[in-house]
Symmetry: C2
Subunit: 335 residues, 2 copies
């Protein structure tokens, strides 16, 4: 399986390391033997049909860009790599952007037109164009997978779709952004908003564009993906009513605590689709703390079920990409 | 798909109702059209290759036994029904018994020898003989499924096995018995053990044989099933060290609370396999209250993940049987 990698940040680097350390097991248990034939980052790219070496890629990146790899091409763009490289799968890990979803959107659409399967951990293209991307994938007879976009290593998407087969899911709500949950948890512990935000920043939890976390855009993007995938809705970001956590005051936090509740940034899909701060009872399984994420699904016959896990992390997300590759290989074998 | 039903209590009755109310959807979405050709309970049985009517079965049961159905045979045993009826699937719902697992064990082994697939929500046979039952299923080329044995409607078994494919699960621990969790939750709220037990009894939460709940046998049986299924261990009930909740005192509860923890009956699979009361921190996602069940799975690369849901209930368990039937039908089509 020939793989192209767009983006080579924490997730991309974790992925190549994980693929290397788990190579024997992935091949023996799943017949999966990915060969990385091209990688691009913001500084340029490198391609080799014979396969690129993981350690050399990581050490090139340490020198600034994968284009420092022997034979690399500084300034090479992702679109160029996708157009010029023969591959079976594109793994898209560039940063999420909810304005125009670029450059991920162009990478993904170009790859699908070239009959590549796509694994995206970039939420931007899915948030802005989930329905049309799924159509494009279908039209080109390729898979579009995105397990890493929601819940990081926690297979929330997979769980809701597969473990509950035969069941109608009536609604769901989730705590989908670890950063705001961390801030709100600290505020419940007595910190001011500014102190809690400062602490989250100092730990590297906050996105460079803080609005993505604080104004609920990241949670809204995940809500779009879940609503499309689990509920079969055809919605995009503009369909989500979104309120962030900037206006939560210490007195709001205290009022919630006095009612044995905690304020959480909750993404809701019922008759309505929205992200907003809400009181969640502390004995509700969804009331998770710190950077944890959780989703509660209400099913028609199996009651309410909650799945909780770490929402992010390079290795966790890399692990979700490997799950997607296993599924893509299985799909390829069936054709 | 011709189905035999052994046992016709809450789960069996919920199942036939659910199959009827969901008939159109199950057929259109999954090609599943189960025909109930035989049912037996402790009072006798009834069989008809043309199919039995759900409402008439339920109303016969209201008169004491399904053998009151037109053409029913009082005194008919399950073994007889299994031997004399042509069917594709046995659904075993008689009560769990951890001494000799009868009559479920005989029903299941006879059915498999007759090349029937088996869905068991009866934990006894699996707890006492999981490894050999799986071998017998393999030898006879039939499926043995048991989604309803752990977590009721919550697809814990399925989740751990499928949603984490490609991942090594290192350990897990779970709160697997809703009754003891209900009692311990009430004790944490200030009730004495006796008062909490009385309350659980009055709500019908406690098994007729109270030892199954209070001494941890039910939790141990579920631990056996999880350890075999998720971890590939070949273990049975005697391998589980089991301590129940009878000796938990109010001062134990207070000591735990003073450490921001709660005492829970926890089933653990790490280097060791045991069921015992343990302190669980209240901010641990596994620290669920009331009758809820939960399992936390530690995976090699995706971190710790927790799944929480209602542990029991007729409709929930019936719903899990339908999931198993969907899978069996899919397996049958592939052959």
């Amino acid at each position: 399986m020939r793989v192209i990698l767009c983006g080579f940040g924490v997730v991309g680097q974790s992925l190549v390391k994980l693929l290397e350390s788990r190579a024997d097991n992935l091949y023996s248990a799943f017949g999966l033997k990915p060969r990385i034939v091209g990688v691009v980052d913001s500084g340029g790219g490198v391609a080799d049909t014979a396969g690129l070496d993981s350690s050399a890629l990581v050490s090139a990146k340490k020198r600034g860009s994968v284009s420092a790899y022997a034979g690399g091409r500084p300034g090479m763009a992702g679109a160029e790599l996708v157009e010029d490289t023969e591959a079976d799968v594109l793994i898209e890990t560039t940063s999420s952007n909810y304005k125009d979803a670029e450059p991920g959107m162009s990478h993904i659409t170009a790859a699908m037109r070239r009959k590549m399967h796509v694994v995206s951990v970039n939420k931007g293209p899915l948030a802005l164009a989930f329905p049309s991307l799924m159509e494009l994938a279908k039209y080109n007879s390729v898979s579009l997978r995105f397990s890493g976009t929601v819940g990081g290593g926690t297979p929330i998407l997979d769980y809701a779709k597969n473990s509950l087969r035969g069941e109608r899911i009536e609604s769901f709500r989730g705590i989908l952004n670890g950063t705001t949950n961390y801030i709100l948890t600290n505020m419940a512990g007595g910190m001011s908003f500014d102190a809690a935000l400062g602490d989250a920043r100092s730990r590297g939890y906050v996105e460079a564009d803080e609005s993505l976390d604080l104004d609920g855009l990241d949670a809204a993007a995940k809500l779009v993906i879940l609503a499309n995938w689990i509920m079969g809705m055809k919605v995009t970001m503009p369909d989500i009513k979104c309120t962030g956590i900037r206006d939560i005051s210490e007195s709001d936090i205290k009022r919630a605590a006095s009612k044995k509740s905690a304020i959480k940034l909750v993404a809701v899909c019922d008759d309505d689709l929205y992200v907003a701060p809400q009181d969640v009872r502390v004995d509700d399984p969804l009331c998770v703390n710190g950077t944890l994420n959780g989703v509660s699904v209400v099913s028609e016959h199996s009651g309410t079920q909650t799945i909780i896990g770490r929402g992010a992390g390079g290795t966790e997300t890399a692990s979700s990409i490997i799950r997607d590759l296993i599924d893509i290989r299985r799909d390829m074998m069936r054709q």
